[in-house]
Symmetry: C2
Subunit: 228 residues, 2 copies
């Protein structure tokens, strides 16, 4: 082992935080981006993040920098990947990226409570501009991870309010997977699942009343294995 | 954004590289460890690794430090997780850990060709000593990831020679999963899989000849998604 030569490599932490926005033509998968106000890439949109501090863990840094840049607190936060290509920034920066979920009913509440910073805007992941650094590739990887996880975990519990209709749940799956699902097959599949608990409440409105359901637990922690 | 304050955080790269060792009572899942020759944790066993250099990517650093410390070249290498707890080392070190596979027939060939360093020994993952730093927890997480992946990918192709019998393949699954599998069910399942291609060759020896198979491709790259 030589004396370490890497004191000029810096560590940043960034977060891809997903939320759903209801639209008449179906939900959209949205992420907040921060407009950069300095070089490199001054004026471009980038993922929320910042420098890792010496006295904080990686997940704490992800939460802190997300709160500082967007005033948001995630429902679910998990490490995505460490991006460390030599050429990804003008100076050497390794970015440890987290991906996160934010319940749709929490987005507006948090923005109202803490004030939305001026330089933050939400973007549809299917309609992003050219982002700073390698952030387009990072978002693409995060979406891929989300799509893989939605199949084998209760990840939708991180995007929905406590209680939801089967149609709302199906819309989450359709939005994340990017494809339509057959309503009756979906209902049959979900009704056989122990994870979904019917409530005594119904959603009323323009349509006939729809029963509300809830999950029996939060997003499936087993997807993180021994990393608690 | 403040001036970055994290120049005293260093980045290390380490690798958990698995191989199988055949034993009369069944295969064992083995990893090489390196005996430390300096503080902290002088004299304890640790994962092969080293410091990230300013001019190399993360995966290159994993390959380089693995070669330098163990003279091994993996069949398959993939990022596992970035470990960055503040207290995991006396100074602040973020370890970006890779997990890797090494075909059983390559282990001895590589050791013979390049010479096995004196301070490297192979350990059964089920019978590890107390390792330096948080390396026991890291190995535990790597084993968990391997067990999860073996179910939905051709990960066994990274551990076996080009051609193998169904009994040998079943032994890989049994060793990785840590449980016995029914031979006829296993045969039925695998014979229906397009991934497995029968050859014209047979393994002969003390038992009746067993047909040799090969995979139609290497370990499934789709497990890495857009990260090529």
């Amino acid at each position: 082992m030589h004396t370490p030569l890497n004191h000029d490599i810096r560590i940043a932490v960034s977060t891809v935080i997903f939320s759903l926005r209801a639209r008449t033509e179906g939900d959209s998968l949205m992420i907040p981006l921060v407009k950069r106000t300095r070089d490199p890439h001054d004026g471009m949109w980038a993922l929320p993040g910042g420098w890792l501090r010496e006295d904080e863990g990686l997940e704490d840094a992800a939460s802190r920098t997300l709160a500082e840049t967007t005033a948001l607190a995630p429902t679910w936060l998990e490490q995505l990947y460490a991006f460390g290509d030599v050429e990804r920034a003008p100076t050497r920066v390794v970015s440890i990226v987290y991906w996160a979920l934010l319940r749709s009913d929490h987005v507006e509440a948090q923005r109202a409570a803490d004030g939305a910073p001026d330089n933050v805007e939400w973007f549809d992941v299917d309609d992003l501009p050219a982002l700073a650094f390698d952030h387009n590739a990072i978002v693409e990887y995060a979406v891929w991870r989300l799509r893989n996880k939605v199949g084998y975990s209760r990840i939708a519990a991180g995007l929905l309010p406590d209680e939801f209709t089967l149609a709302e749940l199906r819309s989450v799956y359709e939005t994340v997977l990017g494809s339509r699902l057959d309503p009756s097959n979906f209902r049959r599949l979900l009704e056989g699942s122990e994870a979904l608990v019917p409530t005594d409440s119904f959603r009323t409105g323009n349509h006939r009343p729809a029963q509300l359901f809830r999950y029996n637990a939060g997003p499936d922690l087993s997807t993180r294995g021994p990393i608690a």
